[in-house]
């Protein structure tokens, strides 16, 4: 999938996406390697995930979890709701949400990294979770219908997008009126100089 786009930084968007995909392909395929962020079950505990949420989630999915927050701490997700997980990775949050919404609800997970999509689909099949679908796509151009989603969750993904305005506009497009955002992300407390914003390795590490 090619999606060339200009931005205010000194790199092509495709180059940044390739670097992010390379990084998260390793998180998918070699989750025990050790990264500049925590991963897996230890990270889930740092972020306040409850043991019960992780029950029935395949270990292959938990091992590649790399979030920065806890979307489920922000409000309840109700049975029957339709949830979108942006940057669904190996599918852990999507499958937690799938249990919360039950058989009348549904989850769409979106990710741009093929290795993560493969792992998420494999894990959902292993756990016999049928109300979740993983789609390839970008947050700035969501492959999701207008006004169709009750809750958007995302975890550690928005910070990786140079065009956050487009991503937020897409979230507003697909949410139903009164729909909720429940997002884990990062906050940078010190101003990042323009020279640093143009360095791809700082976006990924």
């Amino acid at each position: 999938m090619q999606f060339t786009q200009t931005n205010n930084f000194n790199f092509e968007l495709d180059k940044l996406r390739e670097a992010i995909q390379d990084e998260y392909e390793v998180v998918a395929t070699k989750p025990g390697q050790g990264f500049h962020f925590h991963t897996g079950r230890p990270l889930a505990y740092i972020l306040g995930y409850e043991d019960a949420w992780l029950d029935n989630i395949p270990e292959q999915s938990i091992a590649s979890f790399a979030g920065t927050g806890n979307p489920f701490s922000l409000g309840r997700i109700y049975p029957g709701e339709h949830v979108l997980d942006i940057g669904s990775g190996a599918g852990m949050d999507s499958m937690i949400a799938a249990h919360m919404v039950g058989p009348e609800g549904s989850i769409i997970g979106i990710d741009m990294t093929s290795a993560m999509l493969a792992k998420a689909r494999s894990a959902a099949a292993e756990a016999n979770i049928e109300n979740v679908e993983f789609r390839e796509g970008y947050a700035e151009a969501l492959p999701v219908a207008d006004d169709s989603i009750d809750v958007i969750i995302s975890n550690g993904v928005l910070n990786l997008m140079p065009d956050k305005l487009s991503a937020l506009q897409e979230m507003a497009r697909v949410l139903k009126p009164n729909g909720r955002l429940q997002i884990g992300d990062i906050l940078v407390q010190k101003e990042v100089p323009d020279s640093a914003k143009g360095k791809i390795d700082l976006w990924t590490g």
């Binding site: 925590h38 972020l47 927050g69 955002l181 992300d185 906050l187 700082l202």
Partner: protein, 63 residues
């Protein structure tokens, strides 16, 4: 502010914490004071609700 501009209301950061310290590899995040956060917001029910939210950001100059 940008979250509100695109149609959301009730934006709130509910939690922040250093989620990078102790990671296996050193992160460039530390030098920028990077924290993990949780935030929530809600898509406005109507244009009227959204306009009300936008008006909260208007800075009226006292006469």
């Amino acid at each position: 502010m940008v979250v509100v501009e695109v149609g959301f209301v009730d934006f709130e950061i509910t939690w922040r914490a250093d989620v990078f310290s102790g990671a296996p590899q050193e992160s460039s995040a530390a030098s920028f004071g990077t924290l993990g956060i949780n935030f929530r917001a809600r898509k406005a029910r109507s244009e009227a609700e959204w306009y009300d939210e936008m008006n909260k950001f208007n800075c009226a100059i006292p006469q």
